[in-house]
């Protein structure tokens, strides 16, 4: 019983983080048809920015904000400078490009920040609650994680649904040419989309790091889990990505709790292959036929 509760709570927290990361991948996929594998090191490097600021004596929240803003800027620069030329070109070129970025950012982090493990603070407790003599894995930081992800998602929904910029961004994502002739500056919207996605990615990086250790590769497996979660949700649907992230978090938490944590990546691979081969359009698609 206690194990089940621990697994479920852990799964929810992890799921929230995967959901955020999947959402970041989905936002970029939807607007530019590129899976940004470099999202992982981008989130990693912004977390290092936060760490440097916190280690310099500033508050956690200063670092937190700086990382998010850093993510926003990094996403915009990456789209504008590196990705723009391959948009709409052969998909293999875009994939290779994001992998090149992956390697580059990794290496830069290693050069600038070193490769050793460094501990990252958490703003809230990472100890579980104790009720009577049983301890529950409900941590302050876990609650914060879920709340932060929900808040950011709520803000994104508000932005996309109820603002004019959001409408422009959606138009640019769905149909670039029509958006252009209606007067939408499509390039600008794509840059903004990448920036927002990178911000959400940075958030998931900060949440994974909280109360734990960071090193240049600490986000590498998260890009896989985020990708699996996004594919679960259909890769095209932000809501699907979020649900996919939660489902994946719960499943992987169960695998980790009952089978062993070393099998978690394998479980993710199995889930991914099962979805791609059985329901290529994601769990919630109405039409199963889809080129993957």
């Amino acid at each position: 019983m206690q194990q089940l509760l621990t697994t479920a709570l852990g799964g929810l927290t992890l799921g929230a983080v995967y959901a955020a990361f999947a959402l970041a991948l989905c936002l970029i996929w939807r607007s530019t048809r590129i899976v940004n594998f470099a999202q992982a090191p981008m989130a990693m490097i912004t977390t290092y920015i936060a760490l440097v600021i916190i280690d310099a004596g500033h508050s956690y929240w200063t670092g937190f904000a700086a990382a998010l803003i850093g993510g926003l800027l990094l996403g915009a620069v990456v789209e504008r400078v590196v990705v723009r030329p391959v948009e709409g070109k052969a998909e293999i070129n875009a994939v290779i490009l994001t992998l090149g970025l992956f390697i580059l950012i990794h290496a830069v982090a290693g050069i600038v920040f070193g490769s050793r493990y460094r501990s990252f603070p958490a703003p809230f407790g990472v100890r579980g609650l104790t009720v009577g003599d049983t301890s529950i894995a409900l941590t302050g930081f876990g609650v914060f994680t879920v709340v932060a992800v929900v808040v950011v998602m709520g803000l994104l929904v508000l932005l996309f649904r109820y603002t004019e910029v959001g409408l422009r961004m959606r138009a640019a994502a769905f149909n670039q040419e029509v958006a252009r002739i209606l007067g939408v500056k499509v390039g600008r919207m794509l840059t903004l989309g990448w920036a927002l996605a990178a911000l959400v990615g940075s958030l998931s990086g900060l949440l994974i790091a909280g109360g734990s250790l960071v090193h240049p590769a600490y986000m590498d497996s998260v890009v896989v889990y985020g990708f699996v979660a996004a594919v679960l949700g259909g890769l095209d649907s932000p809501v699907g990505s979020v649900i996919g992230g939660m489902l994946l978090g719960l499943s992987l938490s169960a695998v980790s709790g009952y089978l062993g944590s070393e099998l978690v990546p394998l479980a993710a691979l199995v889930i991914l292959m099962a979805v791609l081969l059985l329901r290529p359009g994601g769990l919630f698609s109405h039409h199963a036929e889809r080129r993957v």
Partner: protein, 361 residues
């Protein structure tokens, strides 16, 4: 801008027909065998005239070259991307470690064949699934594979956990030692022996791959890459062509893993990280997708560049550990630049320049 693979391919098609080609008519096998013999001769000269450190570097170049050769066939010729070749090398390496263990290890050719075969079977299983995927999906799936394999290794106690397995070198047969002494006049040490094994394996692999690429199978792969619909109408079984490319490619990775196990003397999960898979990809992109020459150049860069730039970094005041990250920074940056500026890679770009100059003359 043409796609990466197309450019490399066009460059390839327009390769100047040399004298050798004319003499041998249309048969490519004799030409490849001649090149192979010349290559082996060159390798022998180099290995005999350089020291132990260079020999071990050359052994690394050999296994990276074998894996990159396989990957370039898959990515450049068939248009499938694999970020999981490091994982397949792990399969080959662990198979080698296990088969060399025990009191009566298999003889060397048996071990290499076993490693290749086991990896080939794993590759076939993955390939059947992967053949149905495209672009970013296949990239994501193989990325998941690359991340999953080290964990799977940890799950089985027999595979030695984080520390990994030590690899026992097979005894160098007496006749080889005698022959080596007779030919070169010096003793054959184990490092040099592994380098010879690696390069022999590389030459054999490249001859086989080159023949495949130039033959009917290669044409089928290119047809599938360029236009699936047209290929299907022409009677190509798309799935079968893709699976075959994947299997051939993973078999190379398995062989590469076997050589790597012997060269490094230890197989541990940390040796087969995601970085290995990505670096292999960067090697084939740098060299030029779809070209074996490019794969070889790429693996040479992977082998020799780190030493060079790390030295530069240390001179510039970085610590050893940080300076070691300069090499991957260069790979990553070059990959980006190659895709943006010269999608044909090094070999393709050189060929294009050469053609342009000849055209102008």
């Amino acid at each position: 801008m043409p796609t990466t693979t197309e450019t490399a391919e066009k460059a390839h098609a327009a390769e100047p027909r040399g004298g050798l080609r004319r003499r041998w008519g249309n048969s490519v096998l004799p030409r490849h065998l001649t090149l192979a013999a010349l290559g082996l001769l060159a390798v022998t000269v180099v290995l005999e005239t350089t020291g132990s450190f260079a020999n071990s570097q050359l052994a690394s170049m050999a296994y990276l070259g074998i894996a990159a050769g396989g990957l370039t066939v898959l990515t450049g010729l068939n248009g499938q991307l694999s970020l999981g070749h490091g994982a397949f090398m792990a399969v080959g390496a662990y198979t080698t470690a296990l088969f060399l263990d025990g009191d009566n290890p298999l003889p060397l050719p048996g071990v290499l064949a076993a490693a290749t075969l086991v990896t080939l079977l794993v590759g076939a299983a993955v390939g059947v699934a992967a053949a149905r995927l495209h672009g970013p999906y296949i990239a994501g799936a193989t990325l998941a594979l690359a991340v999953a394999v080290p964990g799977v290794v940890l799950h089985f106690d027999r595979l030695g956990g984080e520390q990994g397995l030590g690899v026992r070198m097979p005894e160098t047969p007496a006749w080889v030692l005698d022959a080596a002494y007779f030919v070169t006049g010096s003793e054959l040490n184990p490092t040099k022996y592994v380098a010879y094994i690696g390069w022999a394996a590389l030459v054999v692999t490249y001859v086989l791959l080159a023949n495949l690429m130039r033959g009917r199978v290669g044409r089928t792969w290119r047809a599938v890459r360029d236009d699936e619909v047209a290929a299907e109408i022409a009677g190509v079984h798309l799935g079968r062509a893709r699976v075959l490319a994947f299997v051939v490619s993973t078999a190379c990775a398995g062989l590469a893993g076997a050589v790597m196990a012997m060269a490094v003397r230890i197989t541990a999960p940390s040796g087969f990280s995601l970085t290995l898979s990505l670096t292999l990809l960067s090697a084939v992109v740098l060299g030029g997708l779809g070209s074996l020459t490019g794969a070889l150049i790429g693996s040479a860069l992977l082998t020799f560049l780190p030493h060079l730039v790390t030295g530069v970094g240390v001179d510039a005041g970085l610590t050893d550990v940080r300076a070691a990250e300069l090499a991957p920074a260069v790979y990553g940056l070059t990959m980006i630049v190659v895709i943006l500026v010269a999608p044909a890679g090094i070999t393709g770009t050189v060929r294009n320049l050469w053609r342009r100059r000849r055209g102008a003359a």
